[in-house]
């Protein structure tokens, strides 16, 4: 147990030393890189996941395709994909972005699809009865109702991507993973733990941001109904 407290002390020292907050290897720079890798991948994943999820959820056809695609993407080992593409293309961000996007698409796709399927058919009927076209039904009725689940999917994806973006450092890039890879290579245990601690904090903050987003974006009427998560 003494070992544990020494470890915590060492990490606290690392975090508070001013060297950690400046320059290329400082926490702000690495954090920015990390968020950049995560953001790009999340953007592409949202593009793919949301459009596919909305299309298939709205039309109600191809549900099986959606689930199969999501399962397949989730089964791909991120390490294997990154290493394979890196082996073929070398020192570019492509392997990282592709692997992280593959990781993020399933939760977004599945939750968007589930959200739209879960819309009460009566609500759809009422909308059509009011004369709305398919497009309007989608954006004015289905999406607002499905929003909590869609946001949940985005949140899950965001947290997973942020946690896994450490892999960028393994193939020569920056980000918070740099501390873990460097620490491992230099036998600097404190670096590994310190970097992981920062990563955990960032992941928690991302979760909170999305949770707060929910409160602002989802209409109050829906918020009241959706008690889940």
């Amino acid at each position: 147990m003494n070992n544990f407290f020494n470890q915590v002390q060492a990490v606290a020292d690392w975090l508070s030393s001013s060297a950690q907050w400046h320059g290329e290897d400082g926490i702000p720079h690495r954090l920015l890189q990390h968020l950049a890798y995560s953001g790009i991948s999340l953007f592409f994943a949202a593009l793919i996941g949301l459009s596919l999820g909305l299309l298939i959820g709205h039309t109600g056809r191809g549900g099986f395709l959606v689930v199969s695609l999501a399962n397949f993407a989730r089964a791909i080992p991120t390490l294997g994909l990154v290493v394979l593409i890196f082996n073929q293309v070398g020192l570019v961000l492509t392997p990282v972005v592709i692997a992280l996007t593959a990781l993020a698409v399933p939760p977004i796709l599945l939750n968007t699809f589930e959200g739209l399927r879960g819309v009460d058919p009566d609500a759809r009927d009422a909308a059509r009865g009011m004369g709305m076209t398919g497009w309007a039904v989608l954006w004015k009725v289905e999406v607002p109702i499905a929003l909590p689940l869609i946001l949940l999917g985005l949140r899950t994806a965001a947290v997973q991507v942020v946690a896994t973006a450490t892999i960028a450092a393994y193939v020569g890039f920056g980000g918070l993973g740099r501390y873990i890879v460097d620490g491992l290579a230099r036998n600097d245990y404190d670096l590994v733990i310190g970097g992981s601690a920062v990563l955990v904090v960032v992941a928690i903050v991302v979760q909170l941001v999305f949770t707060a987003l929910r409160r602002f974006i989802v209409s109050p009427g829906i918020l009241g109904q959706a008690r889940r998560s």
Partner: protein
């Protein structure tokens, strides 16, 4: 409803059964923190470890097969990715034998401040500073050193033959290496203090380090790299290993690191016999077979041992 209860019971039973299976597979590996249930006597089990790169695994396989040829049982724990982990395992007795490189071992795990450079000095420093239960056996003449290697076009463009030639031009060049190269004395730190060489940029490469570095070097994404000297692609790519007159890199002879209580005289003799016969050309040939011909470590080790008369 009854089916659920039955299935639950089955599931619990399966879980317990599987736990037993899982437990059994762990018994083969002794608890490294106590390291106690080991007989150092002949015929006991010796645990051989290796680091996470092909040459280390090949050497470890050679050690393993040499020991098995003398009647020892060998447990293999190869591909450990962090020196801190496997070094601590040797200290605590979780690993009994691991192929090491004396110079690297000294400055990364035993005495960071040591300035010993020749094989004799390094080994003397190691023997003096290693914990009492840990020791090194005889070093082999076979050596695999870090190096500063440049690609052919950079060498000819700036007429580079030795590391000192870099001083004037390094500020325009990028050097690649495993991430620890940046802070090591036998790395960028020493480059600056011994030679006054400072590169424009350091590119860390960890995934498949050596292979990736060669690839980047040949594409000229980086102009210089820390390439291990036994690498077969140095010749095929016409890379140039720069001379190191000021001894940035210490001797790096292949040296078995052992946990003494578990390695008796007979086992030590077997390992020393391997070290006596191993040469640097052997290392190059071994690496060639593994990285170019894609032969597995067991095959390569077996053929080296039979050709050395030790298998």
């Amino acid at each position: 409803m009854k089916r659920i209860t039955r299935l639950a019971a089955l599931g619990a039973a399966a879980a317990l059964a599987l736990t037993a299976c899982g437990g059994n597979s762990d018994n083969k590996n002794s608890n490294p923190l106590t390291g106690g249930n080991k007989s150092g006597a002949a015929g006991g089990t010796i645990t051989v470890g290796s680091a996470n790169f092909p040459e280390s695994a090949a050497l470890a396989e050679i050690y393993s097969q040499a020991l098995e040829a003398k009647g020892f049982k060998v447990t293999r724990k190869f591909n450990i990715g962090a020196r801190e982990i496997y070094y601590n395992q040797v200290v605590s007795g979780g690993i009994d034998v691991i192929p090491e490189y004396n110079g690297a071992l000294l400055t990364t795990s035993v005495d960071k401040t040591s300035t010993a450079v020749t094989a004799d000095d390094v080994n003397a420093a190691l023997t003096a500073k290693l914990p009492s239960a840990v020791g090194i056996l005889q070093s082999s003449k076979a050596e695999d050193k870090d190096s500063i290697t440049v690609n052919a076009q950079t060498a000819s463009k700036y007429n580079l033959k030795s590391i000192s030639d870099l001083k004037a031009v390094a500020a325009q060049l990028t050097i690649g290496g495993p991430s620890e190269f940046k802070t090591r004395a036998q790395g960028l730190v020493g480059l600056k203090s011994k030679y006054g060489v400072v590169f424009k940029k350091f590119q860390p490469v960890d995934a498949g380090a050596q292979s990736s570095l060669e690839s980047l070097l040949s594409k000229n994404d980086i102009q210089a790299a820390d390439i291990f000297t036994t690498d077969p692609t140095i010749a095929t790519n016409k890379f140039v290993i720069l001379d190191d007159p000021l001894h940035l890199f210490a001797a790096q002879n292949v040296t078995p690191l052992i946990y003494k209580p578990a390695v008796n005289a007979q086992a030590q003799a077997a390992l020393n016999a391997v070290s006596a016969k191993l040469t640097t050309e052997d290392l190059q040939k071994i690496l060639q077979q593994i990285t170019v011909d894609k032969k597995g470590q067991e095959t390569v080790a077996k053929s080296w041992l039979s050709q050395a008369g030790l298998g």
